[in-house]
Symmetry: C2
Subunit: 420 residues, 2 copies
């Protein structure tokens, strides 16, 4: 490729207005009165959303492949079409009171990259693909990140097929009904590199005044159910020393969940989100308290230490109080470092484009976490207003939307190569 | 009275088997499969219970008066019947999963005192009355301690009449339906002294190995609703320093509720019984937590200090965390010291009978608290197994049941005087 072409490529930018327009149009399908979107996986609305995106892809000359779990791959051929594709993607299903950007942005940013390359007649060496993965949100069917999970072999297709919604409808039935039960065996689809553009769903970029987050890892997660059992008793006649107050002991453990996350700063997280007090009566000392614990860290070794510190304090408290404290781990996702090459490609693209940026981690799960089991992967974050997501008021600015897609464009071009 | 009579009186004892039998018979009305009683105020079962007790009273020669709120007074004349009566009593309504002893014991111990005096042909100088008060429990209609509250003028009759159960039935309708809407104006009923025998509903006597609690006061109570408002956010992507975790701040305040009660030992009580976390989701940092606070103390001045200490910490936490903390006082019952003469009468009776005893306080409300506004009052506690009450497994031993009634007998005789 001569210098002229390189310069042309360096000045290449996506069309922010077109991308914003596509986001707003897709958001009309399942639009909620308060400005959000409700488009649950494999519903009629999901079908309409899928058809709209696939229609746009066909108009852009892309070839469509659908696998058995309904993941859709939209392919722009490379000069050497036998190379595995450089892929981007995300999901277009939403939470029941979701926003316009979560997932949808990653898919339409990929489509915008393709449209930009088409406009300029730029051919890549390797093919480029834009994917959307089935049922990332998990609001209607569990497990979450279902399509990318099956793709990555995290759980079998049959397991996903058998999942049912609260009306008893299965994933398999619903995939067939909406016409997205494809033929390809999930995972039988080589990928050279995978990038996912996403709103941050947190407040870090906004707090630091940055436009782009270069995501180098996804936090590991451990979920626990903790049950503290004391003895319920009347709040009046029971003097303090004779109490076996399950809430009193629970609050000490809840404090520790937060304290240990602070001790493992900056990447430790500790959250008690759910609490059930029994019998939950104003004048009865709680006899039993159940609560959730969510621990996260970018280092699996640190997560092990956080787990040990939690259990050490629980044992100490149980000994002191003579109350029973049961801690059951109910889920465990290891931390996932993204691939150095993909992270570097994102960082270089951001540098080249001159956006304010920072290295960051993803605290939430994304399809990229599963895809990373099959291919080198990386993520690009842009700020979302007040860090709010999974909410109808979820918001991102056109400037940030544009910036993230430009980073995606240049990261993908680096990995796919421009066919001079 | 000559020495012989005095000696006879000193050796007078109630019939423990008869009292136990009456308790067991009354407990068959509304008996639950797990050994408890469900006899809610002003139900058909309450009518049956009332009719049984009133029938026994008539058989014992007592005259019945019912007031407009359904309080029943069962009178044994004195030699000087113009004197105000020495009264005992309690309630026979129960919690939905109540026990056999709460309330019922106080009423039937009074009946047993009368039966014992009848057996021995002992005449008292002042009349003796056994009362049962309407709707002490408050399970079906609020406010609690309704009958004694109206009697004492704590709230007006009309207020009580208008109270409705969840089916919309009013106290007034239900009183008329079961035939216990009497004619007497509540409170228009002089009382020389009032004693109430009750299971302790707490673990103190059992813990100290005592048979009788000489109750010298009832703890004052302050009830609060506390609301801590932060910002809900995704547990993964939100680093610890950027959180506004309503539960984290709440747990510090919950710890303080217990700590301040310990600082005001031995009569301080601090309980958080009820907690609501919003949105109560495993991976969402709580944005709002509401919880109840129950503070009690035997000293009103100490209660004021506990209140101030609670508010001081709340202000400190609000300042540190920048979260909103609202503390609303929703109820307030001042501490009630019982009358020195009645307390002394109980203590002397216990000493005379040789039971192991201790001075104690009542942490819970009882009809005696309201009656104390109208007359000198005192209470006699006996242990209940493991301090458990308001529960089908509530249990007391025949020995303790007998002992409490013997103390009642001698305390009442002291106050009423034996007509030689």
């Amino acid at each position: 490729m001569d210098t002229r072409v390189t310069q042309d490529i360096d000045t290449l930018r996506i069309d922010g207005n077109r991308l914003w327009g596509a986001l707003m149009e897709l958001a009309t399908i399942g639009a909620t009165p308060r400005g959000g979107v409700c488009r649950l996986a494999l519903t009629e609305l999901d079908r309409q959303g899928r058809d709209l995106v696939v229609g746009w892809a066909r108009d852009a000359g892309l070839a469509i492949t659908v696998d058995r779990i309904g993941n859709v791959f939209m392919r722009r051929p490379g000069r050497n079409d036998s190379l595995p594709p450089v892929m981007t993607g995300s999901h277009i299903d939403t939470q029941p009171t979701g926003g316009k950007f979560d997932g949808n942005y990653g898919v339409l940013a990929g489509l915008e990259v393709v449209r930009t390359l088409n406009d300029r007649g730029i051919r890549t060496e390797a093919p480029i693909e834009v994917a959307f993965w089935t049922n990332e949100e998990g609001s209607r069917f569990v497990p979450v990140m279902m399509g990318s999970g099956v793709f990555a072999g995290a759980f079998p297709l049959e397991h996903a097929y058998a999942a049912r919604d609260i009306e008893g409808k299965s994933v398999e039935e619903e995939l067939r009904r909406i016409g997205y039960a494809g033929e390809q065996v999930p995972g039988d689809h080589p990928v050279a590199a995978y990038f996912e553009t996403h709103i941050e769903q947190g407040p870090v970029l906004e707090d630091h005044g940055k436009t782009i987050g270069v995501v180098d890892a996804v936090l590991g997660i451990r979920w626990y159910d903790c049950t503290v059992t004391g003895m319920e008793a009347h709040a009046g006649p029971t003097p303090m020393p004779l109490r076996r107050d399950a809430l009193q002991v629970s609050t000490r453990l809840m404090q520790e969940v937060v304290a240990l996350a602070h001790r493992h700063a900056p990447h430790g997280r500790g959250t008690v989100g759910m609490v059930q007090v029994h019998p939950n009566s104003r004048n009865v000392i709680p006899g039993r308290v159940r609560f959730s614990i969510d621990l996260r860290h970018v280092s699996n070794e640190r997560l092990d230490r956080m787990d040990a510190e939690l259990r050490d304090l629980a044992a100490l408290l149980a000994g002191e109080s003579k109350l029973d404290i049961a801690i059951e781990q109910v889920s465990h996702y290891p931390a996932v470092p993204f691939h150095a090459d993909c992270v570097a490609a994102v960082r270089r693209a951001t540098d080249k484009l001159g956006y304010l940026h920072m290295d960051t981690v993803s605290g939430a799960g994304h399809d990229a976490v599963y895809v990373a089991r099959r291919a080198p992967a990386g993520m690009i974050f842009i700020p979302c207003k007040d860090g709010i997501s999974h909410n109808e008021i979820e918001s991102a600015t056109p400037e940030h939307i544009t910036a993230g897609a430009n980073v995606l464009l240049h990261a993908m071009l680096e990995r796919a190569g421009v066919a001079g």
